[in-house]
Amino acid sequence: MNAIDEPRIVPTSVSRVDTLTVGTISIDVDEPVPRRYGRGLFLATVAGGLSSLVWGKTVWNGLANAVPSVPLVPSGWRIYTVAATMPRFDSRTWRLEVGGLVGAPLTLDYDSLRALPRTEEVRDFHCVTGWSVPNVHWAGVRLSDLLDRVQPGIGARAVRFTAAEIPYVDYLTLDQAKLSDVLLAYEMDGKPLPREHGAPVRLVMPRMYGYKSVKWVARVDLVPEAEAGYWELRGYDPDAWIS
């Protein structure tokens, strides 16, 4: 029998590689069809990666809960800024201005800010880009306490927070700003607020995505209406509530 005919007489259910086992002679005829496992691996990696856009976070959180002692990401924080350099805090020259449509404008230096009644909040921090940091321990001044001191005027329906990091600015409505868990925080996890987190004081609006929690707050102004802030002007949703 001619070896070249061999593949024709084997049953069709037998793959071509199996013809190797029929006899050593068929090896001379044709090499087994090369298996492109590499292509499969390539496609599987791409498909696995793309589908992880859907399942990635669930699995990751599951992993993080399963091995809580090992931090999977360095600190969990990602530092987002919009200016060329982060503002530098100097306790001698730093002032916080609280003004706008108020009965009693206020200028606070760092010590007088720290002298105001202190409050604490332990909350998860959520960024709109998808990362979160659980159980951040904030300490600072309750924003509603500060607003009470300056006596918002009749026309004031929103609060504008201006950062020392120019041109970052954002707004809360007065009702949002008066919620009891909204802070001007000067401490984070037991330490003075680090520079990259907005030293010396940042807004903490824990019910909304992080871009509302303005860092390096330099001015707080009562204004007639909430307008679009820095990121809202660049496409972020003005409705930043964490659902």
């Binding site: 691996l41 390539f42 791409v46 530092i79």
Partner: protein
């Protein structure tokens, strides 16, 4: 000493274009990602642009090398890599190439989603950052291993010559890649090459 051809000019150009853009993206990306570096360097809006447009240029440059260079050769190399057996490349090299190619797509898609997601909520997925970062961690690990094998490890570092000049020592090729039927370099000793074939 006689040499055999391992990589053509198009293959080498493709590799080095990829390498240059990978480094650019790794450096700008790590500055954006690591808080200490972010604080040190600042200029986040500029770095974001450098990173984003670097990524766009990366895939465009690879596409240009493919279109303007020896496309057939690249396709043949791709088919060679798909078959996981030792020949011109060993299986480890092929796995590295396959995963790197897949990561190019994952980096590109997740990077574009991050960029557009900053502008339109429709493009925002909770796991985009996770994917981009996860791929970065694996890719950097592969890159370090690749550097070690190409530059440091005595048994494999000779291969660097193949990726710079195109040719490798025939003795080395025979030892490391016995299954590879290497074509001789111009002016090389073809009798010795035949020895590899047998």
């Amino acid at each position: 000493m006689s040499y055999v051809v391992r990589f053509t000019r198009t293959e080498r150009t493709f590799h080095w274009v990829n390498a240059v853009f990978f480094l650019h993206l790794a450096v700008t990306g790590l500055i954006l990602y690591l808080p200490r570096l972010s604080e040190l360097v600042g200029r986040r809006p500029l770095l974001k642009n450098l990173h984003f447009w670097g990524g766009i240029s990366w895939v465009c440059a690879l596409a240009l090398v493919f279109l303007l260079g020896d496309s057939r050769r690249l396709l043949r190399t791709a088919r060679e890599i798909e078959v996981l057996r030792d020949d011109r490349f060993d299986v480890g090299q092929k796995l590295n190439a396959i995963v790197t190619a897949a990561f190019t797509i994952l980096f590109l898609v997740s990077g574009l989603l991050l960029w557009f997601g900053e502008r339109d909520t429709a493009f925002r997925f909770p796991s985009t950052v996770l994917l981009h970062d996860g791929v970065m961690y694996v890719a950097l690990t592969l890159f370090v291993g690749h550097l070690y094998l190409a530059v440091v490890h005595p048994a494999t570092r000779h291969a660097l010559r193949g990726m710079t000049l195109g040719t490798v020592d025939e003795e080395w090729a025979r030892r490391r890649h016995p299954e590879w039927e290497a074509p001789p370099a111009c002016g090389g000793n073809s009798a010795a090459t035949n020895a590899i074939r047998t």
